[in-house]
């Protein structure tokens, strides 16, 4: 059974077709990049998978089932914008996550936070933007989920933070789990991808193994993307 399946998925906003007939299957143990320019439907697709939007037609299946309580257990989601209460300290946030998610692995979270040498009594609002991004990633990757969905995890971070994020993704990539990463910063992330999905104007333009695409085009994923979708 596929971990994630989208079947003829469509989403309209006020009669405007934002996603058109998306068919996509993602198996276990893969890191998949959903790549597209801004405004092409990446985040809409992610929201549909996370049950934050309802499809206009078609369906999403997670472990063969429609989104619901079980899919929310199976998916650990890092949204583009923060949802944490910035008045909370790190310890308070951790407590919140432990209570909220059965599969939150506190031990792993402690270990990851130790690497960041963060004071756990510190309030989130006092932390730098880069640190807040790292904290969010730690929280998301500390859940024992089947599917991790990271929406633009590299948006606006410096190169050192970017390396930290890539390392954290790789070192917490558990056997049997899969990771979906959406981004328009392809060059930064392409070396860790198994599969790439190009989205353009609400449609899937290409699905390929990353190495096969490089072999076929003799270009990097980033170059091939730019070639296809030149403005």
């Amino acid at each position: 059974m596929m971990l994630l399946e989208c079947k003829n998925l469509c989403k309209d906003f006020d009669g405007k077709k934002v996603l058109k007939n998306i068919n996509l299957s993602i198996g276990r143990g893969k890191i998949v990049g959903i790549l597209g320019k801004n405004g092409m439907g990446k985040t809409t697709l992610i929201k549909l998978i996370n049950d934050l939007l309802t499809p206009t037609s078609g369906e999403v299946l997670i472990n063969g089932k429609k989104p619901g309580v079980e899919s929310k257990k199976a998916i650990s989601f890092l949204p583009e914008r923060t949802y944490l209460d910035k008045g909370m300290t790190i310890n308070e946030v951790l407590k919140f996550f432990v209570e909220f998610y059965d599969n939150f692995n506190l031990e792993r979270a402690y270990k990851l936070l130790e690497d960041l040498s963060l004071d756990k009594e510190q309030k989130i609002i006092k932390m730098s933007k880069g640190m807040q991004e790292k904290l969010q990633l730690v929280l998301v990757m500390s859940r024992d989920a089947d599917l991790y969905i990271l929406d633009e995890p590299l948006g606006g971070v410096d190169p050192a933070t970017r390396d930290y994020i890539l390392d954290t993704i790789l070192s917490n990539f558990r056997e049997g789990a899969s990771i979906i990463i959406t981004t328009h910063l392809i060059a930064d992330i392409e070396r860790i991808l198994d599969e790439v999905v190009f989205i353009d104007k609400g449609e899937i333009a290409l699905v390929s193994s990353a190495d096969e695409l490089r072999d076929k085009t003799k270009l990097s994923i980033d170059e091939e993307f730019r070639r296809l979708f030149k403005c």
């Binding site: 790789l170 070192s171 070396r191």
Partner: protein, 119 residues
């Protein structure tokens, strides 16, 4: 370990090439246990699936072998390592001679330059 890769060629092929050099140069010694797929992929910063594919290729070539439950090891076959080493040297020299030919340098001149630039 330093691994800088080019984006326009399959990454697993580049990892194969890189690990071959590690083996023939003796960085990975004969019979030595190599790090796990997970550790290697974290060190080199690539997807574990890509690393797995590269190791399978090296295994197919005979440069590494799997001991069940124990992990993967560098071959003890010295003649195989020598053979691979020669192939790589030949390949690199071919590229070199072709480049020199393009510039229009004769074999005699190449010798002169090699002598001059000797380290």
């Amino acid at each position: 370990m330093e691994f800088v890769f080019e984006n326009d060629r399959p990454i697993y092929i580049q990892i194969v090439e890189y690990l071959r050099i590690e083996i023939i140069s003796g960085s990975f010694k004969m019979g030595e246990k190599i790090p796990s797929v997970r550790d290697l992929s974290t060190i080199v910063k690539v997807n574990p699936n890509t690393m797995q594919k590269a190791l399978l290729e090296l295994e197919r070539e005979g440069l590494i072998y799997t001991e069940r439950t124990n992990g993967k090891f560098v071959t003890n076959d010295k003649s195989l390592i020598e053979k691979v080493k020669e192939e790589i040297i030949k390949e690199k020299l071919d590229t070199f001679f072709n480049d020199m030919k393009k510039i229009g340098i004769t074999d005699e001149e190449i010798k002169k330059y090699l002598e001059k630039e000797k380290r």
